[in-house]
Amino acid sequence: MSEKEQIDTQPDVQVQVKNLVKHFVQRTGFLRRKPRIVRAVDGVSFDIRRRGTLGLVGESGCGKTTIGRCLLRLVEPTSGEVYFEGTNVLGLSGSRLRRLRRDMQIVFQNPYSSLDPRMSVLGIVGEPLQTHTSLSHGQIRDRVVELLERVGMSGDHIYRYPHEFSGGQLQRIAVARALALNPKFLVLDEPTAALDVSVQAQVIAQLMQLQRELELTYLFISHNLTLVHYLSDTIAVTYLGKIIEYAGADEVFDNPLHPYTQALMSATPSLDRELRQQRVMLSGGVPDPANPPPGCVFHPRCPRASDSCSHEEPQLVDVGNGHLVTCHL
């Protein structure tokens, strides 16, 4: 397979996504006869290096969560290719897919809704072990205790239920569950959006420590640019299902090229006094992904849009140092 050879030449790349597309079809209108196609993810490509963190940042409705779910096939992509260590995830089925899922896990945004309130911590964290391994009950319990301790919690908690924990503790439990099968790759979908800053700091510190100790690869999804910058080495900025800028974390921050990235950065409230200067204020909100504007998807809100932006779609171009941007400018 030609794709396979290409992967072998880049042994450092663990996850490679090529031209990923996910269109959701909604039926609306009288008797739901009118199909409405929502282009949630519209041709996205990126690589994630082994032990690296790719930060996926964007506003609501830009497709960042859908991208994360497509990688694990929790949502079936419409087209495109996802390679995990050289294997096309989208071509697998049955036991081979199950085998692969042990290596790829996800932590969701809201631990209050992602953990079953009627299961004990032992059940929650032990469930993946029950499904994927043939460990005995005692062995599972020992492993759950070990996992809890790994995420900085006491092993005494195994017979407790989710309502007995705070948000930060629940998110640690969710991380422990994701780590149960020794995965190599974790999708972190806004893992701290529901938490207070001091608790967020605990969870983030924990995640960074786990990454070092267990040599994990992360896809970190967030709307918080400051947070993404803090823990990613590469950042992809998404807008209406497309990646509009892709570069090293410091490069994106020091030298943002796309007008949307610039606006996003100036709109992000900051505690750094030097950064509080003039703002690039955008008008309106994100357009309906079922009906994206022609040409550059950002042009109706772009302060620097020119004529060509409304009919020619810009391509992702490399402007040097691996800094990719889709913009005519």
């Binding site: 506003e59 700091a201 510190a205 606006a263 750094d272």
Partner: protein
């Protein structure tokens, strides 16, 4: 200094629950001046929303204000009859909430909801009200006001709905707008628009704003003064530049160190050990004491109010020595 618009003294609020009495507010002291923009920050459960609701005497069922005073233009709201509060709510003191979809009525148009509030507090005929509604829509920068007034909330985006709820809040010329996490549900680019609008409304409409938020960066960007809350007490208050950049209280400092910022990349975020007290025990001494790296024996006593500068106050024994009060 001028007479404050709102002066809260030793406000204490308790909830009766099956688990016992929860001490939600433990002696809040706060001043809001005319045309002020005061940020009230703290983490979940520190009492910031309850303080906002207590000013309007809208404390939820089970909650009881057990002591203290809330003076609005010199008048203690806590001793007034309910009928007096009905004159105040919406007219002199208005409130907007985190989720405008929940605070707007889905069955009425934006225009109808604006007029309902105006009819309650003012005498005006239909024509005048419509004119006033159009004017307000322009003030909050709703595009195409004549059309928007005839739309229902579900037809508007989150940012537009929040603008509409601000218009309703300002419809009777309130002196104080309590904004409870007004931008938490919005995208950053829309958040920037709403924060910018609130800042300008303070100037053009002469309204004081109490901004309740968990986000220190939002306070840094929009407010003039800030009060930091912890476990139902103010731990530090003063001008934003002094409190956020020359923080004195160990909790304020810890909160700042836990917040990621651009300049902190590569450095560890410092988590605060321990957890927030449950409120089931009455507070004795400093609430932050058990988690404080500088805790001393005296911290079991209620901390003194220490003036760092005339406007900047911190409630902590570390700075005791020039104690006043």
């Amino acid at each position: 200094m001028d007479q404050p618009l709102v002066e809260i003294r030793d406000l204490r609020l308790q909830f009766r629950t099956y688990a016992g009495i929860v001490h939600a507010l433990n002696g809040i002291d706060l001043e809001i001046y005319e045309r002020d923009m005061l940020g009230l920050v703290g983490e979940t459960g520190c009492g910031k929303s309850m303080t906002g609701l207590a000013i309007l005497r809208l404390v939820p069922r089970g909650g009881e204000i057990v002591s203290g005073s809330i003076r609005f233009r010199g008048e203690d709201l806590l001793t007034q009859p309910e009928s007096y509060m009905q004159q105040i709510r919406g007219a002199r003191i208005a409130m907007i909430f985190q989720d405008p979809s929940a605070s707007l009525n889905p069955l009425f148009t934006i225009g109808q909801q604006l007029e309902t509030v105006m009819r309650r507090h003012q005498q005006a005929d239909k024509r005048e009200m419509r004119d006033r509604a159009l004017e307000l829509s322009k003030v909050v920068e709703l595009p195409d006001p004549a059309r928007i007034l005839d739309t229902y909330p579900h037809e508007l985006s989150g940012g537009m709905k929040q603008r509409a709820s601000i218009a309703i809040a300002l419809s009777c010329g309130a002196d104080l707008l309590i904004a409870d996490e007004p931008t938490t549900d919005l995208d950053v680019t829309v958040q920037a628009q709403i924060l910018d609008l609130l800042r300008r409304l303070r100037e053009t409409q002469g309204v004081a704003i109490l901004m309740i938020t968990h986000d220190l960066a939002v306070v840094a960007e929009t407010c003039r003064r800030v009060a930091v809350l912890y476990a139902g007490q103010v731990v530090e208050s003063g001008p934003v530049d002094e409190v956020l950049y020359e923080a004195k209280h160990p909790y304020t400092r810890a909160l700042l160190q836990a917040s990621p910022r651009r300049s902190s990349r590569g450095q560890p975020l410092l988590a605060i050990p321990g957890t927030v007290p449950s409120g089931l025990q009455p507070l004795e001494g400093c609430a932050f004491g058990p988690r404080c790296p500088h805790a001393m024996e005296t911290c079991a006593q209620p901390p003194p109010r220490v003036s760092v500068t005339p406007a900047h106050a911190v409630y902590c024994f570390l700075y005791d020595g020039s104690e006043e009060r």
